[in-house]
Symmetry: C2
Subunit: 343 residues, 2 copies
DNA sequence: GTTAGCACTCGGCCGACAAGAGTGCTAAGT
DNA sequence: ACTTAGCACTCTTGTCGGCCGAGTGCTAAC
C-alpha cells in the first residue's frame, strides 16, 4: 500500500477506530474479532496492533488495557479510510427545516443554525457570522435617545444590523443630525465597512473637516458607531458534551467550558478556514490550541457568489463520528449558502 | 426572643452559617468555638445545635459529621441575622466603570452588566432585558434585501433595536415600501409595542384594509416583524460555578447547565420579581423550580421613572455570601437605573 | 505467516483495618 | 438548672492487601 499499511492493517485500524468511536473504551484484540467477524486469531491481531503502535497509530493507557487511536490514527482515518456518506433523509429534512430566515433577526439566523448543528450532531455547533468589516455598507441612521445619547444603526447589504449607543460631547439639533445622516449615507455608499473606516479617517484628516464643523462631527459620530465591530461567534449545545464519558472528569469539563469562553482563540482558527474553502478538519492539537486537546473540529465555509462569508462547524471529542458529522457540516454549509443567496 | 431563639442560639446559628458559607463543609461543635472565640464548651454548643436541628435549622449528613444549615436557616439568616453591609470601594468602582452604554449596542449593555455581576460576585450574573412589549414604539424601517426579503428594523423609545427578516409573497416596489413605512410610523406613533400589536390586528380586520391592498400589505409586514419578540435573558459566568466544591459532582453540574439552558423557567421567576420592587431573595426551593435546588438567587429591579423595566441579579449556591452579594445586586440595579435615565 | 498456549502485568474491586472527626449521653460541678 | 468533662459510639475516609479479569507479549508449534 502506498501509505505503508497493508490491507489487513488498515482493516484492523479502521475497526479499532470505529469501535473506539462508539464505545470510548480501549479496544482489545479479541473484541475486534468478535465485533467485526474477522477470521483471524487474537494473537495475529495483537501482532498487527503492536506494529500499529510502533507506527504511532495506537497507544495503550497501560500494559493490560486495550489500545486507543492516536490523533495520527484519526487523521489517517479521515484521509484514507473513511467513506464519507450522505446525510440521511430525516436529518436532511431537519437541517432544511431549521435553516430559515423568516421571522428571525440576522443574528438569530446564525444562532439558529448553530443550535441546529448541535442538535443534529449531538456535539457543539459553532457558527462564525460574516465578518462585518467585509460587508458592504448600505445605510446608517442616527436616532436621538434623549440627553446627548444617540443610537446609531448601521445596516449592511447582507442585512446585518449593528447598533451602537454613542454619547456626544455637545447637544445637536435633530435637523443637523438628519443632514449628517444624509451626508454620510451619500459618502459611504457602496464601500465595504473596512473601506468606510479608512475613508472616515482620511476625511477627518482632510482639509474640509477642518472648516466644516458639522462634517467633523458627523465623521466622529460614525467612527464611534463603527468602533470595535467584532466578529461574532455562536457556540451552542455545550450541554451536549456533558454526557460524553471522556469528560466525566470534572477537570476536563472545566477546561472545555473555559476554552469555549475564550472565543477569540477559536476565531483565529476559524479565520484560517476562510482561506480554505470547503470542509476542514482539525483533530486535537492540529488546531494549535492547547485548549482543544481532546477535541476535534469539523468546519466548512458558506459563501455568497465568490465571496467567502463565514465558517460554521461542529466541535466534538476527537473520537467523534466523523462519517456522520462531515456530511452534516457540508450539507449545512451548502444550505446556509443557498439561504443567503439573493435571487 | 420574638422568633423563638435566644441570643446564644442565634449567635451559634450565625456562626455555623457563616463558617459553612466560607468552607462548604459540615461544621462541628469545636470548630465553632475555636473560630469564633466563644467561651462555651463544645458540649454546650452541641446541646444548642441539637435544639437547632430539632427546630429545622440544621441537619447532619450523618451521625458523626458536623451540621449543615438548612434552607430555613438561610432564610432566617437573611431575614434576621444578616447585617447587610455596603459595597466596598474597589467593587463600587468596578461596577461603576463597567456600567456604561457608550460604544455598545443595547443588547451589549445588558450582557455587559451580566458579565460584570458575575465577575464581581464570582457567581453567575443574570439580567432580564426590559420586555420589548412594554416599550414604546419609536420607529420602523423596511430595507429591501433583494429577492422578496425585507429587513424590518424596529426601534423603541428606550433604544432597543429589533430586526427581523420577513419574506413577502409578492414583489413590492421601493416606492410602495416607503409609503408603507411612512404610514406605519404615523399610525403607530407613541403606542407601546403590545398596543401596536393589538392595533395591527384590529386594523387588519377593519373596513379599510379590505379595499386598500397596500395598507393590508403594510399591516401584514409589520405583524411579521413584531412576531415573537421574546424576552431576553443574559446569563453570564457559568464557568464560575465550576469551581464550587458542592458542584464537584458531575451530575449536579450537568443539572445546573441544563437548568440554565431553560431560560423560560427562569423567566417566570424573574417576572414575579417585576411586581416586587427592590431586592428579592430566593433560597433553594423557594423559587419553586426544582432545577434551582442547591441554588439561590438574589435579584433587584431596575426602573425608569415609575416603570419597572427589568430584573437583574446573581445566581449562586445556597451557601452564597449573601452579605456581600446583596449590596452588589442592589447597587448594580441602582446604577443601571441611573444609567438608563434620560436627563 | 498464523495461531495456541502461557506467563505476566496492571487496573478495578472488595473487605479489613486504623485513624479521625464529631456526636449523644451521663454524671459531676457550679 | 445550667454547664461541662469524660467517654463510648458512630460513621466517613484513607490505606493496604488480595483477588479477579482483561489484555498483552513471547515462544513454540502448526
Amino acid at each position: 500500500m502506498e501509505d505503508g499499511l497493508n490491507l489487513r492493517s488498515r482493516q484492523i485500524l479502521e475497526a479499532i477506530i470505529e469501535d473506539y468511536i462508539s464505545t470510548a473504551e480501549p479496544i482489545g484484540s479479541s473484541a475486534i474479532r468478535s465485533r467485526h467477524g474477522l477470521s483471524l486469531s487474537p494473537a495475529t491481531i495483537r501482532n498487527v496492533m503492536a506494529d500499529l503502535e510502533e507506527l504511532g497509530f495506537l497507544s495503550s493507557p497501560h500494559t493490560s488495557a486495550g489500545r486507543v487511536p492516536t490523533e495520527k490514527a484519526y487523521r489517517f482515518y479521515v484521509d484514507s479510510l473513511l467513506a464519507v456518506g450522505g446525510v440521511d433523509r430525516g436529518e436532511r429534512e431537519e437541517i432544511r427545516r431549521r435553516c430559515t430566515m423568516a421571522g428571525k433577526d440576522v443574528e438569530g439566523v446564525f444562532r439558529g443554525v448553530s443550535q441546529m448543528l448541535s442538535s443534529v450532531s449531538h456535539y457543539m455547533g459553532i457558527v462564525a457570522a460574516p465578518s462585518f468589516n467585509s460587508n458592504v455598507f448600505r445605510q446608517i441612521e442616527f436616532i436621538p435617545l434623549g440627553g446627548r445619547r444617540i443610537l446609531a444603526i448601521l445596516v449592511s447589504q447582507s442585512g446585518s444590523v449593528q447598533n451602537r449607543i454613542v454619547e456626544l460631547e455637545r447637544d445637536i439639533s435633530a435637523d443637523d443630525l438628519q443632514k449628517m445622516t444624509n451626508y454620510l449615507n451619500e459618502m459611504l455608499h457602496g464601500l465595504t465597512i473596512s473601506q468606510v473606516k479608512g475613508k472616515i479617517v482620511r476625511e477627518m484628516e482632510g482639509e474640509r473637516a477642518r472648516y466644516d464643523e458639522m462634517l467633523a462631527n458627523a465623521l466622529r459620530l460614525s467612527q464611534q458607531a463603527l468602533d470595535d465591530v467584532g466578529e461574532e461567534i455562536f457556540i451552542e449545545g455545550q450541554a451536549n458534551i456533558l454526557d460524553l464519558p471522556e469528560f466525566a472528569d470534572v477537570q476536563k469539563m472545566k477546561d472545555i467550558f473555559r476554552a469555549m469562553e475564550q472565543k477569540s482563540q477559536l476565531l483565529t482558527v476559524l479565520d484560517s478556514c476562510l482561506k480554505a474553502p470547503g470542509v476542514n478538519i482539525f483533530i486535537g492539537s492540529e488546531s494549535h490550541l492547547n485548549s482543544m486537546s481532546g477535541l476535534s473540529m469539523i468546519t466548512s465555509t458558506y459563501v455568497s457568489g465568490k465571496n467567502t462569508l463565514g465558517v460554521l462547524g461542529v466541535i466534538g471529542p476527537t473520537r467523534m463520528g466523523y462519517g456522520k458529522v462531515i456530511p452534516i457540516v457540508d450539507y449545512t454549509a451548502r444550505m446556509l449558502t443557498r439561504m443567503l443567496h439573493v435571487d
